[in-house]
């Protein structure tokens, strides 16, 4: 029993990390549900990485990293919208190029000075064990904002995911709500990168929501599963990281991704068994 509880009781910083991680899991699961529903995985990835040069730039200028992350994400949204509305290339190409470009730009900026090595690791992989009470308050606000936006705009978001034309005809312009959805995802990314890092926030955005999509038969249930699985992944990942001395942020994402593939595998096996039974019945 103590194996499961004492790390958090004995170490206040671990308890803060657990709370921060769960808040990240909740905001990423809610935003991630719409990322999965809309098939915006690649865009979520691009957003998560676009934050990097913003944070690097803010550090170079001595500004708060959060501000830089917001600027980076905003530029990314504008860039993606510009490229996809002006170009006949597929969205994948445009977003992929922006993603690589922003990542490279971030590394170029940081490479100017070797003292930033520690910072770049922090940006990429997060500093979940170093979160302050102020960070917790910030993340709690993000959860409230993301939760409120997805609750108030659930209907247009659902119609948009179902069929953008139906959202337009229902009087909810798809472009406007698409943008609002992107901003919501961006907020989740910006508020989470300090905890789990820009590389791993993408995992938290997709893995729990993806698991939810496999398990659920309705959108609210999907979101519920995502929050539950995301939070449990944070807890399990931190335990593993504590007892086996592994990187905390990465352990959390590894657990979340493993859960997704475990559910995926079980469902695939069950489906193939069912198919085989049906085939056997058909031939007998």
């Amino acid at each position: 029993m103590s194996w499961f509880v004492t790390p958090f009781v004995d170490n206040p910083f671990l308890l803060r990390a657990l709370i921060a991680g769960i808040l990240v899991a909740v905001s990423c699961s809610i935003a991630g549900t719409f990322v999965v529903l809309r098939g915006l995985a690649f865009l979520g990835d691009a957003l998560a990485h676009g934050v990097l040069p913003g944070v690097a730039g803010a550090l170079l200028l001595g500004l708060p990293g959060l501000l830089g992350a917001a600027v980076g994400a905003t530029l990314m949204i504008i860039g993606v919208n510009l490229v996809t509305s002006r170009s006949r290339l597929s969205n994948d190409t445009a977003i992929g190029l922006l993603f690589v470009g922003m990542l490279a730009l971030g590394v170029v900026m940081v490479s100017r000075s070797s003292t930033f090595t520690g910072d770049i690791v922090g940006i990429l992989f997060g500093e979940i064990l170093g979160v302050s009470v102020q960070d917790l308050v910030q993340q709690a606000i993000a959860v409230v904002v993301i939760g409120a936006v997805s609750w108030v705009f659930a209907r247009p978001f659902l119609l948009l995911s179902f069929d953008p034309e139906q959202a337009d005809v229902a009087g909810w312009p798809s472009r406007r709500y698409h943008l609002l959805m992107l901003v919501m995802v961006a907020v989740a990314v910006i508020m989470s990168f300090q905890t789990v890092g820009t590389l791993l926030v993408f995992g938290m955005l997709l893995a729990p929501a993806g698991s939810g999509a496999l398990l659920a038969r309705s959108v609210p249930a999907m979101m519920g599963w995502a929050v539950l699985i995301g939070s449990l992944s944070v807890y399990a990942g931190m335990l593993v990281s504590y007892h086996f001395d592994l990187a905390a942020g990465a352990s959390i994402v590894v657990v979340a991704v493993l859960v997704f593939f475990a559910i995926f595998a079980v469902q695939a096996v069950r489906q193939s068994l069912r198919d085989r039974q049906a085939a056997a019945l058909a031939t007998s």
Binding site: R155, L158, D163, D168, A170, A213, R217
Partner: protein
């Protein structure tokens, strides 16, 4: 004073994409309780005209008035069934959730879903013969079943104008008949219906027809519009270079989703 007597009124309307007209000089009108069938080959401009009527595409020139306003200004009074459904089939949605979406425009962002809404949803599904599929995930259904659920969604809107783009695509004969009966019911309660179709037989049951082939070939009563000469003219444009025995195939219903 003319505004209240017509649901659709266009004068010299040109429709198309990005400023390039697909069909020009469309002058049609539709009154409450009337139906119009849009007939033509793929690419003849049927979908373009329907999308312009619901406000998804901006008109290129001419005048257009839908439900006493510009297209798209009355979302509560219009129902639309598109030809393609983006990712709908992949979402974790049950059939009844999809039909309930038809009630969203009336309830707005936060208006509560009432007992009446649930009754209307159940009734709409029953009318399209999918009541027993209410709890089924959409993604586990056949294309024809999904199409009937989408039509039920449009019915649940209780709209004054139904715009349907090839609603019978993928439907079996029984379901297509059921759909035609539902259209009659909608007309009887005073709604208007505009439908794109490849099916001449279906189009003959409508009050009006417009034959399109990148231009307006004919417009008026179906029996005048859909006579052999005009059909040959409209479909012959698409048939140029194809042997004559190919005519019959083009006039029978086609499945545009058949990939």
């Amino acid at each position: 004073m003319t505004a209240s007597t017509s649901v659709i009124r266009t004068e010299g309307l040109a429709v198309g994409f990005q400023g390039k007209p697909v069909v020009s000089d469309i002058s049609i009108s539709l009154r409450p309780g009337e139906s119009i069938a849009l007939v033509g080959t793929n690419g003849s401009g049927k979908s373009t005209l329907l999308k312009t009527l619901v406000g998804l595409l901006a008109p290129i020139s001419g005048s257009i008035e839908v439900l006493d306003g510009v297209p798209g200004s009355t979302p509560r009074r219009i129902g639309y069934l598109g030809q393609f459904h983006a990712a709908g089939g992949l979402l974790p949605l049950q059939a009844r959730d999809v039909v309930m979406m038809g009630r969203y425009p009336r309830r707005g962002l936060l208006g509560r879903i009432t007992h009446d809404d649930r009754k209307i949803v159940a009734k709409s599904m029953q009318r399209m013969g999918v009541a027993d599929l209410a709890g089924q995930p959409l993604r586990s259904m056949s294309g024809g079943q999904q199409q009937r659920v989408y039509i039920a969604q449009v019915l649940a809107r209780e709209a004054d104008l139904l715009i349907l783009d090839e609603p019978t695509a993928g439907l079996d004969a029984g379901s297509a008949e059921r759909y035609l009966q539902v259209v009659q019911e909608e007309l009887q309660r005073g709604a208007s219906v505009a439908t794109a179709t490849h099916d001449i037989g279906e189009a003959m049951t409508f009050d009006k027809a417009i034959l399109l082939a990148g231009r307006v070939v004919a417009y008026g009563l179906p029996r005048d519009v859909l006579n052999a000469d005009r059909l040959l003219e409209a479909f012959g444009i698409a048939l140029r270079g194809i042997p004559h025995n190919g005519h019959q195939d083009l006039l029978s219903p086609q499945d545009p989703h058949g990939h």
